[in-house]
Symmetry: C2
Subunit: 115 residues, 2 copies
DNA sequence: TAAACGTATGAGCATTTGTTCATCTGTTAT
DNA sequence: ATAACAGATGAACAAATGCTCATACGTTTA
């Protein structure tokens, strides 16, 4: 076996090994979908606000400086990803983080960007 | 002060308090930009692969099932975000994760999606 | 029951994003 | 020197995304 062939074989071997260790495509797809949620400044801001406590839609819109409609649309996405929960109190709906993962993920991110 | 006024005042107070606790807009913007990177299945897959060890562009393209060009474009984004580092060895360039944050963030995410 | 209020949702539109194709740069081998 | 190879980059295009506007829904109050 010459050097070139040996080189190619080594590559193929590594590729094959990694392919085995890789999670299912679907899992990584879901992972990307999750992070997509955090990948928008309106939404991270929203999530950060909710990490400080529950809040109603109107106040969220005020804090974010966008339409009530826009917030509502975003909250819908967050609900779909099970990142927030909500409770109704009369005409008002209060949103809050669904669990601790969200804060942990944001904190790790903030550490990376140097905060 | 009637009930309605009191209700409004309480809202305003909470909004004001949260506004103070909120990080700079720029920080949250950077945070979103960081997560945007993870919010694409090609890129998370890429990052996951690199978490298993360094690898050259060609092999990455093979594993991801996309063009060499596409991988190169993505790696460029990852470099810009300081998520990967690289070293040249002859004609080949090997990429690897820049630091541990990346893996931590992905692991938290995987935990959330239930893996 | 009708008006008012907070929230949700669909349509439409402008922007952003990810990919491929073609081409260019840089390194090695003949 | 030049051909061959690994990777980088710009242009162009299709698809996805986030916003606003208009309107619908659910709850409360007059």
């Amino acid at each position: 076996m010459d050097e070139t062939t040996e080189f190619l074989r080594a590559h193929q071997e590594q590729v094959a090994r990694v392919r085995e260790e890789l999670p299912e495509d679907e899992v990584l797809y879901d992972l990307a979908e999750l992070f997509k949620i955090f990948g928008d400044s309106t939404r991270v801001k929203l999530l950060y606000i909710l990490s400080l406590g529950e809040m109603c839609v109107y106040d969220l819109a005020q804090l974010l400086g966008v339409t009530q409609s826009a917030v509502s649309h975003q909250l819908r996405a967050l609900k779909a990803s099970k990142l927030v929960r909500y409770r109704r109190e009369g005409k008002t709906v209060f949103y809050a983080l669904a669990d601790g993962h969200v804060k942990t993920i944001m904190d790790q991110g903030l550490e990376h960007v140097g905060e």
